[in-house]
């Protein structure tokens, strides 16, 4: 086989200057399908009705016998500098041709040189004669990983030629930005692109991408934070708001991640230049870029360089005044109004999205220089996107206490159908606390009355709570909890007057760790509208019931003795850089009860060790509930980054197997491990009535745009009100289940119906969403593993 290793120089090219790690972003070298005999022939399902789909993939057509020729270039005497090496080599353009890519030692050409070894002679300006030996080392077929990586490099060159601006990994069109002055935001339209070997063809997957940029400098942001929170909390708030964000600078086209803020430094501070001399920032920016720094009191931002340059791994100091923020902060994401204003511009409906993608292809087709570059490499594209048929699998029936419901598949939601129907398992609320501030006394009563109205039909018995009024201070809430929560308390409901995180965090932390009791926090604001109070109360009642170990509905699960596991990760970028893995495993046959744990991992530790321990306890609990061990285990693994597949296959899966082995020598359940990926570039459009629509929920795609080396498929399970629905990608990386692909697909889709916080179908299997919720709560608020007393309930919903 052909080595994946492109020389480091060319990898630089592909991820140039972006601080990107040298990673195989497309997981090119990982071939998992070959180990699964039962899907060698076919990995496609069969059930459901056909639906005509188009996608955002475009076939790459290269001339017949296209190959890329890889040469090694040697110099005698040895020349050190890369630039000198290129300069000497390119004196011979008549030999090697005008089209080439050279990184200093490896040369790629679209044509084969006459001889396997070519000797060329150059002379340096010092009059030194240099012999250059160009040796053919590889003929790369179009499908080789190196070649694919190379296509991607070429394509990025094209985008640059189209005058698109590179920000991060994608390219954006700066000439026609949308500005949203209300929030000081600017949105640039751009494209993501990747060229990969798909089932039968090499294709370009192009999608619209939006970059949110902020029309203010980091210093501006600091000023407004200061005026919002005041001196005392200023530095903390800056750290919380700014660390982890990506900034652009005024003077170069690089992005940096803010890793720290150096409050003891300022623009008058000095740094050591590469030539060893000391210079102040003020002086440097004036001299180098003619930029006057106006505020000399501002702190300095620190960005760690991810990539080693030479052997130096250091940090870069940045001046807030010269940096602009990109992207959204968590705070902004939580700002409903802002997200609504943004969505108008970023949520493109199918036809518009396809039109925008078409525009990119059009640019490519129309630009002479781009066409010339493509021709030189012998590449061309189909300018019409690929069409094929997918399947819409049949809708699932929802079961609730002996009742069976169909729901309108178009909405993928059964809120209406199940209203007023008893729950599968309603946990009585005999002993509970309702905590509120004086200001929210009325709101608390409204909530209580509404709960009393909605709970009987669900079958929930609810007593009067202990109503407790507190001051609107964190300590006041905590004191009440310490004094009033007893071992008999079923649940604590807190009405909060603002979404200030510290209060919420403190309550959750106390009630998840020190004093493990389910809790429900409600914002007073959400209860203030009379027209929605019943809906809200219904949701709260359901949520409270789940948190106490109740069950709402179920779907038919045809497999017996099966344990379903969901794993997701949360990476805390602010405090201590912890990573948290949420681990959720089913406990019963109907898959309505879950065992939940999480792994809090500090830097340097391996997450998988903790996951192994989780799996062990999950199996123990399953056997306690079912009086036997599961004979089948399905692991849905979410939170896997681009390029991490290899680690998962080679490290995590063997650990799962190890763990199963350790249970007992005669225990060998069937194991299926499925990697779940929400962020994928693929988009599908259903051709309905001459137009393009979002494909209906239940659409399964397992041909054409899947990868030949994987046992993978896409499912569109959810619906969206605006914009394009994003399919979820499922990659079965290990499977001894012997199940047909169709059954694995169906099971996966069924599990998307089982998330109790939403009476509808969601994007991922419920255990993944539970695991996400748990990891998020722990990462955001609790920062350590919650008490195991809670582990048999969905206390984190």
């Amino acid at each position: 086989t052909i080595g994946l290793q492109v020389s480091s120089g060319l990898q630089d090219l592909s991820l140039r200057d972006r601080g990107g790690r040298r990673r195989d972003f497309h997981d090119l070298g990982v071939n998992t399908r070959q180990a699964m005999v039962h899907v060698q022939e076919s990995k496609t399902g069969f059930s459901g009705r056909m639906v005509k789909l188009t996608t955002n993939h475009f076939r790459l057509t290269s001339r017949p016998q296209w190959a890329l020729y890889q040469y090694h270039v040697g110099y005698s005497p040895e020349m050190e500098a890369r630039r000198l090496r290129s300069a000497l080599l390119f004196q011979h353009e008549e030999h090697i041709g005008k089209t080439h890519a050279f990184d200093g030692s490896i040369l790629f050409l679209p044509k084969k040189l006459e001889n396997k070894v070519t000797e060329l002679f150059s002379r340096t300006r010092n009059g030194e004669d240099v012999k250059i030996t160009v040796t053919l080392t590889n003929e790369l077929p179009p499908t080789s990983p190196t070649c694919l990586q190379f296509y991607n490099i070429i394509f990025r060159r094209l985008l640059k030629m189209l005058n698109l601006q590179q920000i991060g990994r994608n390219y954006y069109n700066p000439s026609d930005p949308v500005s949203i002055p209300n929030h000081r935001l600017m949105v640039w339209l751009g494209f993501t692109s990747s060229i990969l070997q798909y089932e039968e063809n090499i294709m370009l997957c192009a999608d619209v991408s939006h970059k949110v940029l902020r029309g203010e400098t980091v210093l501006d942001t600091m000023h407004s934070l200061h005026s919002q929170v005041g001196e005392e909390r200023f530095r903390d708030t800056c750290a919380k708001e700014l660390i982890g964000l990506i900034v652009l600078t005024r003077y170069n086209n690089r992005t940096y991640r803010i890793d720290d803020i150096d409050w003891d430094n300022n623009p008058k501070g000095t740094f050591r230049k590469s030539d060893g001399s000391e210079m102040s920032f003020v002086e440097y920016y004036k001299k180098q870029y003619n930029i006057e720094i106006s505020d000399w009191m501002q702190p300095v931002l620190i960005s760690q360089m991810k990539r080693k340059r030479g052997n130096i791994q250091g940090s870069v100091a940045l001046i807030p005044e010269l940096c602009s923020l990109t992207g959204l902060t968590d705070k902004m994401r939580n700002d409903f109004n802002m997200m609504k204003d943004l969505a108008i511009h970023t949520r493109l409906p199918p036809e518009q999205r396809q039109r925008e993608i078409g525009r990119l292809l059009n640019y490519i087709q129309k630009d002479d220089n781009v066409q010339k570059e493509l021709r030189n490499w012998g590449l061309s594209f189909d300018y019409k996107s690929v069409s094929f048929t997918g399947r819409v699998v049949q809708g699932e029936k929802i079961f609730q206490s002996g009742n069976m419901f169909d729901y309108n598949p178009q909405f993928a939601d059964w809120t209406k159908e199940t209203r007023g129907v008893p729950l599968i398992r309603a946990v009585p609320v005999d002993n509970w606390l309702l905590i509120y501030t004086r200001r929210n006394y009325d709101v608390a009563n409204t909530l209580l009355q509404s709960l009393f109205k909605v709970t009987p039909s669900m079958g929930i018995r609810m007593n009067k709570p202990n109503m407790i009024e507190v001051d609107d201070r964190t300590e006041a809430y905590l004191r009440v909890l310490q004094q009033r929560v007893t071992p008999d308390t079923n649940i604590v409901v807190c009405i909060l007057s603002s979404s200030r995180k510290d209060k919420y965090d403190a309550i959750k932390k106390y009630l998840c760790t020190e004093c493990p009791i389910p809790s429900q926090c409600v914002l007073a604001r959400t209860l203030s509208k009379p027209q929605t109070i019943m809906t809200v109360a219904t949701k709260i009642a359901l949520q409270m019931n789940c948190k106490m170990g109740g069950e709402l509905w179920s779907v038919e699960i045809p497999l017996k003795q099966v344990m379903i596991v969901g794993i997701d990760c949360y990476h805390d970028t602010v405090s201590g850089r912890q990573s948290i893995a949420g681990f959720v495993a089913s406990l019963n046959q109907t898959v309505t009860r879950w065992f939940s744990r999480c792994v809090v991992q500090s830097r340097g530790q391996e997450l998988v060790d903790g996951i192994k321990a989780c799996l062990q306890t999950a199996l123990r609990n399953w056997s306690k509930w079912n009086k036997c061990l599961p004979s089948r285990i399905f692991v849905y693994r979410d939170g896997v980054g681009d390029g991490q597949l290899n680690t998962l296959v080679n490290y995590e899966v063997p650990q799962f197997l190890d763990c199963l082995k350790s249970i007992g020598t005669d225990y060998s359940p069937r194991l299926t491990v499925i990697v779940v990926k929400k962020r994928v570039g693929a988009r599908f459009f259903a051709e309905i009535g001459g137009g393009l629509k979002n494909p209906p929920p239940g659409t399964v795609v397992d041909t054409v745009v899947t990868r030949p080396e994987w046992y993978d498929f896409f499912i569109v399970s959810q619906t969206v009100k605006n914009g394009c629905v994003a399919p979820t990608h499922y990659n079965v990386i290990y499977d001894t289940s012997q199940l047909k692909p169709d059954h694995v697909q169906r099971l996966t889709y069924k599990l998307c119906h089982m998330y109790y916080n939403w009476s509808g179908i969601i994007r991922v299997p419920a255990p993944c969403q539970y695991a996400h919720k748990l990891a998020f709560l722990v990462g955001q608020s609790i920062h350590r593993e919650p008490n195991l007393m809670l582990s048999d309930r969905l206390y984190y919903l």
Binding site: R125, G127, Y172, P181, R184, G230, L248, D275, N337, R500
Partner: protein, 372 residues
């Protein structure tokens, strides 16, 4: 060919900073001194000089010309505006253009420049080109200032390993007398004055050798001749434009309007936020109280001073917040952008929701969140 780097290579030991940097610095100093608006670099090669000059705030038009399109193309994208240039458009306008062509040919796109630089260019010219060069640069382009640099062959014996010329592509290298006589003759012919200088000092004791790079700075004697000559000579475009970047600038109404709208709304939002937090007392939350550090809170200061004036008081009426335009206009940033109040009104007309008499920015607060 990349001339800069080749010299850097052997001379980095001798010259600090490297000689090419000294040449660039020389041009930069000249730009700082004469503040030209339009600058052209002939033989711009990999555009490194242009890249440096784009940061000079006096320059509004930058052009590069080279006989080799490939060498220009390699790095030309570094001359594109940066994302931040779009986010915070600058006051000045700037257009950068790269042309592919020869200095032996006239093209009208090279007319009207204030400064033309020919750094290490002439020694690459073949005899016929060199002959036409003065007529094109001094006769046709006729800028106020021309800078020409070229190697001084008298210095070559001091450089290690230089056999004949410093670079294989050099067609000649002149000694000081040769360069000066050519320069003086050219200056005389086209009515320029010329001063000689250079960069790269000879080592002590070898002063006679002169600068490593000799430089002639030509200044047009009659400031008017340039323009009159131009109009007499219509020329056809012969250069090929390979790159053009127009930098976003507040001089462009589109960017100005965006900037003003964004600043107006932002300012109004802040005033509104202040007003609302005063209105709905935030309760007895001690965590919210803050002492302001003067340097970090210019904004509230500014607001405090302004709001006291009559008719500028923002107010709440029902579900609407009114923030008088006059208040917004008095904020330095808005003020600086618009210049006059009339201009402010004109720019935001139809883009920002105003009160019925058009005197105040209006927000509806009915659907707003109280916090966060």
């Amino acid at each position: 060919m990349d001339k800069n780097f080749q010299e850097e290579f052997t001379q980095i030991i001798k010259f600090k900073p490297p000689l090419y940097k000294q040449r660039h610095q020389f041009v930069k100093d000249l730009v700082e001194k004469y503040k030209p608006k339009k600058v052209a670099d002939l033989g711009c090669a990999d555009c490194s000089l242009l890249r440096m000059l784009k940061f000079c705030s006096c320059i509004e038009v930058l052009a590069g010309l080279d006989i080799c399109a490939n060498v220009m193309k390699e790095k030309m994208y570094t001359l594109s505006p940066l994302p931040v240039d779009y986010l915070q458009p600058s006051e000045r306008s700037l257009t950068i253009t790269l042309h592919h062509g020869s200095v032996a040919h006239k093209d009208p796109c090279m007319l009207g420049f204030d400064l033309v630089t020919c750094i290490e260019l002439i020694e690459h010219l073949e005899e016929p080109e060199l002959k036409k060069f003065p007529e094109v640069v001094f006769g046709f382009m006729a800028p106020s200032i021309v800078v020409i640099s070229t190697p001084n062959s008298e210095f070559n014996p001091l450089l290690p390993g230089v056999m004949l010329y410093r670079h294989p592509d050099h067609k000649f290298e002149w000694n000081q007398a040769q360069f000066q006589s050519w320069a003086l003759e050219t200056a005389r012919c086209y009515d320029y004055s010329v001063e000689f200088t250079g960069v790269g000092h000879p080592p002590t004791g070898m002063e006679k050798a002169g600068f490593c790079t000799q430089i002639g700075v030509f200044t047009r004697k009659n400031p008017q001749t340039g323009k009159s000559v131009q109009s007499e000579k219509p020329a056809e475009a012969v250069y090929k434009t390979v790159f053009k970047a127009v930098y976003p600038s507040l001089k462009d109404e589109k960017y100005l309007q965006n900037a003003v709208i964004s600043e107006v709304i932002f300012t109004a939002q802040i005033i509104k936020h202040r007003l609302m937090s005063k209105h709905e007392e935030y309760g007895n939350d001690p965590e919210r109280k803050s002492k302001f550090q003067p340097s970090m809170d210019c904004f509230s200061d500014c607001l405090g001073k302004l709001v006291v004036e009559k008719n500028m008081e923002p107010f709440v009426s029902g579900n609407e917040v009114h923030i008088p335009l006059a208040t917004i206009f008095s904020f330095p940033k808005v003020n600086r952008l618009c210049g006059t109040f009339e201009k402010l009104c004109k720019l935001i007309a139809g883009k920002v929701t105003l009160s019925s008499d058009g005197s105040a920015v209006m927000f509806n607060i009915e659907h707003e969140n109280e916090d966060n």
